[in-house]
Amino acid sequence: MTDLRDDLDRALRSVTVGEAPVQRAVRDGRRLRNRRRLAVLASALAIAAVAAASPSLARLSAGPALPGTSHPATLRPSVTGTSPADPVVSDQPPDPGAASGTVAQGLIGGHRWAVVLAGSDRTPRAPAYACYRAYVARTAGGQASGPDAHIYEDCASAADGLVVVPGTDPAGLAAVLTGMGPDGATEQVVLGAVAADVDYFALTFADGQQLKLIPVSWHGHRYVAWIAPADMTIARLTAHLGGPHFDNGQVTTAVPFQQADAAPQFGLWFTPGQAVPPRASGIIGYGTPGGPTWSASAYEGPWGTCFLPELGRASCVWRTRLAGTELLGVGGDPPAAAFGSAAPGVAYLRVSLSNGTTVQVTPVSVGNERLFALWPGVGVSATEWTAYDAAGRVLNAGATVAGAASSPVAGG
């Protein structure tokens, strides 16, 4: 039997690669950046010149409204903080005449978008899934849900956080990336079920644009949604609490973990004044233990702690602090790094693997946490661990039950 991934890995790693041309990349990168700045300056000068001739254009550029809608609650995008690369994005509740199930609609740089719930099992208390369609018009001014649109269809299950709001969170948000942008660009499509005590959300992008997301009811549940370019980093999502159409002044805020080519993942929610984990990242394991070269990184921040393999998807633990020494990912099949956290005082761990071997690992400090990773091998998983202090004394030990170690971890 041949595992294709493993074979490809071996074959491609046997390809000899020269030294990284760092200086050339820096030189070309600077040139590229300067060209962009010149282009931005030129377009700004052009806009200023035209605006001087037509004052109404200056007003329009400060906050375009969706044609046909004038929802008073929509916040104006902040153009002053907008990156020149980001289009202006808007998000509105559905028009009165919108299709049934429409959760939200808006514009991305002049292209209309809409998110429409298309069906679910509609079990009143605990629906198992909800299906939806996301539309983005191919042409500026075109109808979002017309034949002119890119369409993405998906169903999100309760396990993805949609439909059922987890715990005390204000929303369960399911996010995907799709190649449905106007020019084939990648867009983030985010749809979420909203808790009963939420009035609205304020979504703030890193470039300063801000959207007000007003929950819309459909078949007994409340939802919000947005579509935006995938590379628009989300600074925060703040839930204004109280209830439908009632703001009691309390808020709770989430900062998602957002890889550059992955959908944002919302984990922890914080109230004002609550301690937030510091942002920190680092490589927590790497090597070539008689097999493929591998590495794993960790990212700590307001989202919790996310573990990222060399090439792959993140696994996140939505906790403000990790609880002492534990294995949070055990590896196995498909091949993946095993990873975990270590309590203060742990100098190293010996991790037993399902193939009978033992691997010794040393924790690495990342922010508030001490983390470790190891490569168990193809089809091999970590089963037990023993933690030692610097003098070699056993501090603690534990075993993993199949599946238990990954239960608090959300795949990204």
């Binding site: 041949t2 595992d3 294709l4 000899t16 990168g29 890193a206 890889q259 090439l311």
Partner: protein
């Protein structure tokens, strides 16, 4: 960008250069183009380094550029593909499996560009069908069909080369 940021970028690029060149090589089938594509991707990452860092995962950013650059390249013109050569190992002594590795690269090189991209993204990078479709700007149905045909061709080549009778998928939905 200040000196510290430059140093950070340089360290990142040195560390991730081999993986990105190999990804580009798997996608383009050409060692020279692979280095060009990877170099261009890192240059773009440098140009937006502050924002790339804020996004939290520079690795993924560069990887996406590599995939996009390859996609654009095939949209513009058909490029002759060759996954032969450049198979040297840095370790002295006998290299068990070297022929098999070369045979797999040969078989990969015989796939069409989109089939190869689907195979690499699905079964090497372990992207889901939806993620692969998004990365290649095609439908999930196209990913499924291209993956199925690509795997069938790889299996056929594996049998013809005497490397075994089956190739097992390692991806996930």
């Amino acid at each position: 960008m200040g000196t510290a940021a430059d140093e950070e970028f340089a360290e990142f690029m040195r560390g991730r250069w081999p993986a990105m060149v190999r990804l580009a090589y798997a996608l383009t089938g050409d060692a020279g183009h692979a280095e060009d594509v990877a170099q261009a991707a890192f240059a773009r990452a440098y140009a937006a380094w502050r924002r790339v860092r804020q996004a939290g995962d520079p690795d993924a950013y560069v990887r996406r550029i590599v995939i996009n650059e390859n996609r654009k390249r095939f949209r513009k013109h058909r490029v002759p593909e060759d996954l032969h050569g450049d198979l040297r190992d840095g370790v002295a002594g006998p290299q068990p499996g070297l022929e098999e590795r070369q045979a797999l690269l040969d078989a990969l090189g015989r796939l069409g560009p989109r089939q190869r991209a689907v195979i690499v993204l699905r079964y090497w990078l372990d992207l889901s069908e939806a993620e692969t479709a998004a990365a290649l700007n095609c439908s999930v149905g196209t990913v499924k069909s291209q993956a199925s045909r690509g795997l069938a061709l790889l299996r056929k080549d594996a049998v013809a080369d005497g490397r075994g009778e089956d190739i097992v998928e390692g991806g996930r939905r």
